[in-house]
Structures are given as C-alpha cells and as structure tokens.
C-alpha cells in the first residue's frame, strides 16, 4: 500500500501544540508582538513550512486543490479576521494548473482584542488549521495550534525572533489595488487592460490570478504586452475565457515580476467594457441558419452599395459582351464568376482568420486600411478607366477584367477574375446585414466563420449568376452594336470616380505627401502605358522598348505606393483635417463637437454617470459619412446632446486601430459603422447602421428628460 494512503488513515489523530509537524508540513502560529493591548489588533501569522516538491494553495486553488483554513476557538469578544494570502505561483500539473505555494506559505491573520479585556489576562487562542498539501497526489492535513497571547496596557515590542518572518510575509502580500482596470471582450477571448502607475517598475513577467472559478482557463498562457500611450502605460493581458465568464466575478490578483526578480502583486476589480452581455451574446444567439441568411442577404445588398457600383458597371459590360454566346456558355460564365467571388472570399477569410490566429488585431475591410493597397487600387482603377475610355488597348487578359472577352477559352478565366475583383472592392463596404453576420463569424471556430464568409460571397455573386443562368432575363439584354463603344467610354467615368475616391481616402490616411506619391505613381504609370500604346505597332525594337517603359512605370509607381505607408505613420487620430465628418465647409457650422474615442475616456465618462454616444467611423466607409451628414449633423441633435450632457466620442478606423477593433468585437461586429448610446445607468444600446435624424433624436430622448438640477459628474 502506498505511504500516502497509510498517512491518510492516520490522519484523524490530530497533532497538537505549536509548532506542529505533519509528514509534509511544519505549521506554526506566531504573534508579531510580545503582548497585545485591549482595543487593539494583534497581528498573527500562520506559517506553513512545506516539504520540497509539495505545495499548498491560494484562495482560488486553480483546477484542483483547496485553500488552507482555520477554525478558531477564541474567548468571548475576541475576533479573528480572515486568513490573508500572499501572491501565489503558477504550478502546472500536466494539462492543468494550480495556484499555490512551495517552500513556505505565510498567511497573516489579525486578532481583534476587545477594549474591555482585562490587562494581564492572556488570550488563549486555539486554531484548528486545515490544509491540503499536494505533490502530484494530495494529502489533507490538520493541526491544532495553540497560542497564549499576553495582554498588556500597550502593545508589546516586536518579537525579534519573528520580525524577519513578518517582514517576509508582508513582502509577499499584494501591494494594494490598481483601480480602473478593464476587461474587454476580444475576437479571441478577453483582454485585461490595466493602467500602470509610474511607481510600478515595468514587469518582465505578468500573470493574472482570478479570484473565482469559471472566469478564465487557469492553465492557459496569458500573452501580455506593455502599451505606451498618452494617458500613461498600460498592461494588456490576453485571457482565455472559461465557462462562467459571463457571470463570474472579474476580480483577481495581478502579479508583476520586475527585472529585479521581485513579484509585486495588486488586487484588481476590473470593469466589463463595451457590453459583452448585450453585444456579444446577442450576436452569438443569432442561430447559424439565421446568420447564413443574413450573410446571403448582406451579399445581395453589397451589389447595391456605392463602392461596388463601378464593378457592377464592369459586370454589366461583361453580360453585354456575352450577348452572342450560347446559354450554356453564359451559365459557365456565371458559375466561373461565382467561383471567383467564392475563392476570393475564401482566401480573404482564410487570411483574416490566419491573422486573427496570429494575434493581429485586424478587422474586416483591412485592405483599405493599408495605404499602399489603397494607392495600388487607385492605379488599377485609373488603368481600367483609361482602357475603357479608349486611351489604351491593354492585353486581352486585363481587358477581360473589364469587358469580358469574346473567345470561349478566356471566358472562364476572365469571368473568374471579374468575380474576384468584384469581391475585392465589395469587402470594405459593410452593408447593414453584414455587420451582424461577420461579427458572428469572427466569434466562431474557423470552419463556421469560413462558411459565413462563403455564403456572403454567394449573395454577392447571386444576381449575376441568376442573370446568366436565366435565359429569359439574359434575352432581354440589348443586342451588341455601336452603342457598346459609347457605353464602354461612359463606364470609364465610374472607374475614374473610384480612383478619385481612393485618392481622397489616401489623403485622409497619409496626408498631402501620400496624395503626392499616389498622383506621381499614377502619372508615371499612365505615361509608361502611353509610350507602350504609341509603340506597339511600330517596327522591331520599339514595341520591346514600349513594354519596358510600361513595366518601368508600373514598378516605380508601386515603389511609390509602398513609400506611402511610411508617410502614414503619423496616423490620423492626431492629424487635423482627418475628421471624417465629411465636407470641411460644413464642419464649423454643423459637425458635432466630439472627443476621440478611447476605452479609458468611455470608462471615465461612465464612472461620472455621464451618457455617452460612441460613433466608430472610417474615411473609406460611405455609409458612415452619409450617416454623419444626414443624421448626426443637425442642429436639433446637437442641442439634444448638449441638453443631456451626452459625451460624443468618435473613433476613426481609417487606419488599423486595435482599440476600435476590440470595441467592435465587443458588440459582435467586425466593421464600421457602429453607433452605441450608453445611458447614465444600464445596458448600452446599439443604434441601426443606417441612421435618420428621427432615429437619433428618439434614441437621445430615451435617455430621459434633461435634468438641469443634475450637475455634471454626479454619480447615478
């Protein structure tokens, strides 16, 4: 039989005395001072000296185990405080983790001596201590520790024999608490955000020990980083949620080990941010069929969105070009187009998920958040526009992108490419239905997320597929003729308009330098292509030189596009003129006064009991700009917000901003716009993605009547 079992059988024989040695532990109960005084508190210490290789537990023991406890027998009037726990260590046991102590565990505890206790009469305290001590297997042990505490008029001198022990115990206790910690839901799980005081040395190791079970996976790694910001440094710790995260107490102990090797710990009582309860659960409760339905519908609506319009034009041209083809070939075209859209969405989704897995805080529409990509897209639309207007005759492959070739062999490839192009441009336009479906997708396992994205692609491809599969509809298309050339030239203008819009996006992202680089690239590219156009029919060496000029122009233009990224470093949030409220001339009179969004500002305003309207926007988001112009810039809205002292916070997602990506994830969204109204008290309310003045006004009115007697900053 194993020694552990023998020990267990012997256990009922409780050890008595002080100190008491069991097989694995030597337990002592000591007083700090030689005497206690009536009306004062006497500091005691439960010290457990643990055999090497064994450990005892913190107040939350982790995946298994049990914290030590004391059953007191005390004279009437004497009261014992709770057993206090020093900073634990992480003890891994296979796939599990425990929080506890090796070597020695020191647990301070206070005894309150009543004011009327007679001086000279010692306090006889009897502490029945129970603890679980484990190596890999566990043994519950107990000891009755007896202590006779002299009582004098004044507290006695510190007992030199135990002074070192008490100093060590205090060293191990939490250093206090850090207020204003936040727990934010993220796409991956949850993130703890802790503001770091200047007095705390920058840590080299960080661990969050939750006070209660069910909040986070105890054994999971906790990647962390130090973020330097305007409002001071912050520590971000990524946590893996457990079953009870929605209801569990968020409190716990943050242990920071400094470069000096000292572990300092701080109590945290984090606040939940950005309505996990309303937002995320709302998104998750969206069933899979419904989410797929929304994704399909969102894809359909994408066909009507402004930034898909140029591609719709391309698609219309493609269909016209196919007018002479047989029904079967049209069907193949339609299906190839669909396959192009699906492959694009699949690749993009895979990329998004791969980046998500890599911890990159990116959201949907990230293509247009990368300035070189924007510049390259502007080039593409310029070249396509030039080709349509007749200034260039590009190779069959590129032409196929726009007009759809006549030869069957290239038909499939070109239709496939058109599909992919349509999807490429559609992705950043978050149609109203897309928000919820995508948010749902990002909270799911990767296979389900991909299913949602592919359904979205199916919706986008649907109308074109229908048109090419339905002979009756296709037959209604006009016959080819000379008008096609006119139409082709006309359709160049939406493409030029798109290029102009992309340049404007670039101006917001990278300022004048970015626009200059982009325009220079466009000029060089156009010149190179012009040289090629002039020389393509000339004798021997010229076509070769023309192609070289075009390639050189393209290469330099792309190099300039890459330079744009460098100019964007200053970033929009601090750049004046970055305000995405729209036309600058409108702003002084009508745009609402706002502050830039930050989680801290939001939390502070909520703590003050001040209602908050959060608007997340981006320069490339047409819906956002329209909403701001139509619904958020009226005088009435401004007056109502002012009357109710509503803080208007605006986040700009034009460039990647992880803080905003997190906020969006908190509401199950991966794209802008989102409008959230936080009342003084209660759950935040998400407004629709398409706003009217009436919606905004009624939402603000729901905050209650303006109350002039309530001063700014008063708590609810």
């Amino acid at each position: 039989m194993r020694p552990a079992l023998i020990l267990f059988l012997l256990l009922p024989l409780l050890a008595w005395g002080n100190p008491v040695s069991t097989e694995q532990v030597t337990a002592r109960l000591v007083a700090e001072r030689a005497a206690a005084a009536p009306g004062e508190t006497a500091e005691l210490l439960l010290s457990l000296d643990i055999r090497p290789g064994w450990h005892t537990y913190w107040r939350n023991p982790g995946d298994s185990g049990e914290p030590p406890r004391i059953d007191w027998t005390l004279p009437a009037g004497v009261e014992a405080g709770p057993l206090r726990f020093p900073t634990p260590g992480l003890i891994r046991v296979g796939p599990l983790a425990n929080f506890g102590y090796s070597g020695r565990a020191l647990h301070p505890v206070s005894l309150k001596v009543p004011a009327g206790w007679p001086v000279g009469e010692p306090i006889r305290a009897r502490a029945e201590a129970h603890w679980l001590v484990c190596e890999e297997h566990c043994i519950p042990e107990s000891a009755v520790l007896e202590l006779s505490l002299p009582v004098a008029e004044r507290p006695g001198a510190t007992d030199p024999a135990v002074a070192g022990l008490f100093a060590e115990a205090r060293e191990g206790l939490p250093r206090g608490s850090i207020p204003d910690a936040l727990l934010l839901p993220t796409a991956e799980g949850a993130r703890l955000e802790v503001p770091l005081d200047d007095a705390i040395p920058p840590p080299v190791a960080v661990r969050y020990f939750p006070s209660s079970w069910g909040l986070i996976e105890h054994a999971a790694d906790q990647p962390w980083r130090l973020v330097r910001g305007e409002g001071g440094d912050r520590i971000q710790v990524d946590l893996t949620p457990d079953a009870g995260i929605a209801s569990a107490d968020l409190g716990g102990l943050l242990s920071l080990r400094g470069a000096d090797g000292v572990a300092r710990s701080y109590e945290l009582a984090p606040r939940r941010v950005a309505g996990r309860t309303s937002g995320r659960e709302g998104a998750s409760s969206l069933g899979l069929p419904l989410a797929l339905g929304f994704a399909f519908l969102g894809g359909l609506i994408l066909n009507l969105m402004p930034c898909v319009f140029p591609v719709l034009a391309i698609k219309a041209m493609g269909l016209v070009g196919q007018g002479a083809l047989a029904t079967r070939e049209r069907a193949i075209h339609g299906l190839s187009y669909t396959a192009g859209v699906l492959v694009f969405f699949g690749v993009l989704g895979g990329l998004l998920l791969a980046l998500r897995a890599g911890g990159a805080a990116l959201g949907w529409g990230f293509q247009l958040q990368y300035p070189p990509f924007v510049a390259a897209m502007a080039y593409l639309f310029l070249v396509l526009g030039l080709a349509l207007s007749g200034a260039l005759t590009l190779g069959v492959r590129l032409m196929g992108l726009a007009a759809g070739p006549q030869r069957p062999g290239q038909g499939v490839a070109a239709a496939f490419a058109t599909g992919a192009l349509a999807a490429l441009v559609a992705a950043p336009c978050t149609a109203p239905f897309m928000g919820a479906a995508l948010g749902y997708a990002v909270t799911l396992s990767w296979p389900l997320a991909l299913a949602i994205l592919l359904t979205l692609g199916l919706g986008l491809a649907g109308p074109y597929l229908l048109l090419s599969l339905w002979p009756a509809l296709a037959a209604r298309l006009p016959r080819p003729g000379p008008w096609m050339e006119v139409l082709k030239q006309l359709l160049a203008f939406p493409l030029f308009a798109t290029a102009a819009w992309l340049l404007w996006v670039l101006s917001v992202q990278s300022g004048p330098t970015g626009v200059a680089l982009g325009l220079s690239g466009m000029l060089l590219l156009a010149f190179g292509l012009w040289v090629r156009e002039r020389t393509v029919l000339a004798p021997a060496p010229w076509p070769w030189l023309g192609s070289a000029a075009a390639i050189l122009g393209l290469a330099v233009a792309l190099w300039l596009a890459l330079l744009v990224d460098g100019t964007g470093i200053q970033g929009p949030p601090d750049t004046p003129g970055v305000d995405t409220a729209g036309d600058a001339r409108e702003r002084p009179a009508q745009a609402l006064p706002h502050e830039p969004y930050s989680a801290e500002r939001l939390a502070a305003a909520q703590a003050e009991g001040r209602p908050v309207l959060v608007n997340m926007t981006a320069a490339w988001c047409i819906t956002c700009l329209v909403n701001e112009r139509v619904a958020l810039s009226t005088r009435r809205v401004a007056e109502q917000l002012a009357a109710r002292d509503v803080l208007y916070l605006k986040g700009d997602w034009t460039n990647r901003d992880p803080a905003i990506t997190d906020f969006l994830a908190g509401f199950g969204r991966t794209g802008v716009p989102i409008y959230v109204l936080y009342p003084r008290v209660g759950e935040p309310r998400v407004l629709p993605q398409i706003l009217t003045p009436a919606i905004v006004e009624s939402a603000i009115a729901s905050l209650g009547d303006p109350d002039p007697s309530q001063p700014k900053g008063e708590s609810p």
Partner: protein, 207 residues
C-alpha cells in the same frame, strides 16, 4: 468549351461549405447544452464503450482515483455508491472513468479496478480505463471526482463538482447540496438543469 475548368471550383466550394458546417462541433471544448465530446474507451472487461453506442440513454461520467482523499470522502461515506444506485435505477448508464497514466497515482489494472468496485460496493455500469487520458482531455476533466451528465440526445447537461462542499471531510457529505442529484431531479421533472456548470473540486487528474 467544356465544363471541366469550372467544376473543381464548384466542387471545392461545396466541399468547403459542407466540411465547415460539420467540422465546427467536433473540436470544441465541452460546453453545456452542446453535444458531448465523443469517446471510445475499453472497460475492465475489454468491452469498448462509445458515446454513439449510448444514444437514447442518459449517461453519467464520473472521473475517479481511489487514492484521492476527495474520492475517498465520497466512497468512504457511501455517498457515491448511493448516487450510482439511484441513477441506474432511474435508467442511467454510469461510467466511472480512470484517466491516471501508468505509474501515476490512481492507475490500476482491470483486475484491481474490479476489486475496488467490489470492495467498495460500488455500482457503476462499467469502469473505463482511459490509460492515455484521451477521454479525460476531450472532456476537460480536471479533478477527481469530476462529474458529467449527458442526456439521451447526447447533449451535455451538467458538468462540475459532485456537490458544493469542496472538502475532504466525510462529515460534509450530509449537509451538502449534491449537484448531480439535483440535475437528475430536474431532468426527471422535464426541466432544464438549474445549475448546469459548477466548480469541480478534488485532486487533479493524474494525466
């Protein structure tokens, strides 16, 4: 023109969609209200038990380790045996699972496991020897005891501790609220389990 160039795309897209829809449920962590993780483990007689074979029957899983003081609390007091008998009388299949790795505490041979069952007067339907810990990891079994209740439709309806007294003291059995018994009572009444996930307590599973 023929169909071959586009067919792979369509087939691929359909396959991707189908695969994604089915794959989602398999790799997930055990979650109350979701299908319970699959398992296929031999018992002490060599018979293989799998979740799929138990469709239509209520199932209770008990992770155990006879050397663990928390397990001894519930067997020493007769609490676990009584619960096993009640559950089996109510038509449940009760599987005791031993996930201790060879050489670790609680690891037993089939014969030893049968001796333990007989010696303690235990009444599980079978004792599974999860030697490589695959079933334990699939369920995220953390402690001994750690209890799981699965309904006839294969959904996990309870996971967590056996009761609310996380101690080794047999005297605590009497006043404790037994979460498994409460779950069975709720299910018998046709209700959802009122307390479907609680903190499991005990020794760590010796993977």
């Amino acid at each position: 023109m023929n169909r071959s160039p586009m067919r792979p795309f369509l087939v691929g897209a359909c396959l991707a969609l189908a695969a994604t829809l089915t794959a989602g449920a398999v790799a997930a962590k055990p979650e109350v209200g979701q299908p319970a993780p699959a398992f296929s483990v031999a018992d002490t007689t060599g018979k293989t038990w799998s979740l799929a074979d138990l469709a239509g029957k209520g199932l209770i899983l008990e992770w155990t380790n006879h050397d663990c003081p928390y397990v001894q609390k519930h067997y020493g007091s007769g609490n676990m045996q009584a619960l096993q008998q009640e559950a089996r009388d109510a038509g449940y299949v009760w599987l005791s699972v031993i996930s201790s790795a060879p050489g670790k505490q609680g690891h037993v041979s089939a014969a030893e496991a049968d001796e333990l069952t007989e010696g303690r007067g235990a009444a599980p339907t079978a004792v599974l020897l999860d030697v490589d810990g695959a079933m334990g990891r699939a369920y995220g079994a953390k402690t001994t005891p750690h209890m799981f209740v699965i309904d006839g439709a294969g959904s996990l309806v309870y996971m967590g501790g056996i009761d609310d007294r996380a101690t080794t003291d047999p005297a605590d059995v009497a006043g404790a609220e037994n979460y498994v018994r409460l779950a069975l009572t709720d299910l018998a009444a046709g209700k959802a389990v009122s307390n479907p996930a609680t903190r499991p307590y005990g020794c760590s599973v010796k993977y």
